[in-house]
Every structure is written in C-alpha cells, then in structure tokens.
C-alpha cells in the first residue's frame, strides 16, 4: 500500500478515537507510525489502532455512556448511541479494506495451484472477457 494512503488510513483510525485520547496521544501515535512504517508493519498498526479504538470507545465499565456487560448480555448505557457503533463499523471497514489491499492479488490475473494424491492440476484464470482454464495432469 502507498505510504500516503496508509498514513491517511491510520489518521482516520486515530480520528475515530475519543477526542480527549486523540488530543493527548494522537500526535505521538502518528509519529511512531511514521517511524515504523514498513510494508509488513502496516497491518499490525491498523489492527492495533482499531483494537485501541474499540477499547477506548467501549470500555467495559458500568458507568453511563459506556458499554456494559452483564450476564453475557450487552447493555448500552444512555450515553452510547448509534454514532459510536457507526464509528466502530467504519473503523472495522477501513481495517478490512486495508487488509484486502495488502493481501488479495489482482483478480484478473489469479493463479491457483493444488495437488492431491492422484494428480496435480494447475488452473490459470485470465481476464473475465476471455476466460481461459488450463488443466495440466501430471502422472
């Protein structure tokens, strides 16, 4: 993923944190992200940022405005509203998008290979407009 895009995604994750936490630690977190920004580390940072967001938004305390857990049932306090759930959903969506961008190969040029005890097949999928499947059997 492009450095500028990953920085933007991380900034968005930080933006979804509660204002008090963001103002206190946001610049430090962004600085660390920039210092450690490497291809493999980006997913770790996105996951960590999202988990931090969820922890900050849904602290398991029994006061108003926080998410409470009692007898296995989730009860939302009076201060928690659909906006917070929406923010968490957006954060999770961003995380999934980041993972997709990093992990999924180009679907127009996918190559799948598998083997079983009897034979080995190689299936090559090309552009959908002229889809072609090549099967090779090895003895």
């Amino acid at each position: 993923m492009n450095r500028a895009v990953s920085r933007l995604v991380y900034r968005l994750i930080l933006r979804l944190h509660p204002a008090s936490f963001r103002e206190e630690f946001g610049p430090e977190m962004l600085w660390i992200f920039e210092q450690e920004q490497q291809p493999g580390a980006t997913v770790h940072f996105f996951l960590d940022g999202t988990l931090s967001l969820l922890r900050q938004r849904f602290t398991f305390e029994n006061d108003s405005g926080q998410l409470s857990i009692a007898s296995g049932v989730l009860i939302t306090g009076p201060g928690i509203g659909p906006v917070r759930f929406l923010q968490a959903a957006i954060a999770l969506s961003l995380l999934c998008l980041g993972l997709m961008l990093l992990r999924v190969p180009n679907p127009l040029n996918a190559s799948v290979t598998w083997a079983d005890r009897m034979s080995c097949y190689t299936v090559t999928l090309q552009a959908p407009s002229h889809a072609e499947v090549v099967l090779q059997t090895t003895p």
Partner: protein, 123 residues
C-alpha cells in the same frame, strides 16, 4: 491505589512490559516500544494503540508519570525526539513492578516443583 494494595491483581502482559521498560530510565513512547522489543528478543511487539491505552491507565493509577519538558532527566537521542512526551516510573510503579516480579517468581518456583514431581512420578 493498586500499588499499595497487598493483594493487587496480576499485571497484564503489556503493563508488565511497559513498567519493565521504564524501570531502565525515562523514555518516550517510541523508546518504550523499542525497549520492550529488545527486552523480549523481538517476541513481543507493542503497538502505539496498546501502549498509550495502557499508559493512560498507568498515569491514572499513579504508576507512571509525565516527565516535564524542562527536566534534565529526559534522554532524547535526537532533536526530533526532544519534542516528544517522556514518561517515568513512579515509586508506586516500582513497588507494583517489584510485587509482580515476586509473584511471577513464585509461579516459576511452583511450576518447577510440579514439573519435577511429574518427572519423578514417571520415572
């Protein structure tokens, strides 16, 4: 305050690593992350979210404190790091860390004894 409580609950892994890193001296957030990685031979990777989430709690409970910008105890390696926020271990933090290390020492001692029993039982 948890540190003064004789029966304080076990510290989480992240908290233990943060306190251990700060026991070596005052550090900023990135310094703590690097120190934790060094102490654990790279096996434990602390993310900034987890770090500051824990630091917020530790500051709230008085185990960790901010180091003032003007303090001579700040050890910035570069000019860029001088603007960063530094943290230090308080006396309560040191006590909490010492208690946790004692507790873990007890766990290790018991574990070794159990393993020894299991070995002699098999033999």
């Amino acid at each position: 305050m948890p540190a003064k409580n004789a029966k304080s609950p076990p510290l989480s892994s992240a908290t233990l690593h943060i306190l251990l890193a700060l026991a070596g001296g005052n550090l900023h957030g990135y310094g703590i992350i690097k120190e934790v990685a060094r102490n654990s031979d790279g096996h434990y990777r602390l993310g900034p979210g987890t770090l500051y989430d824990n630091l917020k709690k530790l500051i709230g409970t008085g185990l960790v404190a901010d180091v003032p910008t003007s303090s001579s105890k700040r050890k910035a390696a570069s000019a860029q790091e001088e603007d960063r926020r530094f943290f230090s271990l308080t006396r309560e933090g040191k006590d909490a860390l010492a208690k946790e290390v004692d507790r873990l020492q007890g766990v290790v001692t018991k574990a070794k004894a159990r393993l020894q029993e299991a070995r002699t039982g098999r033999a």
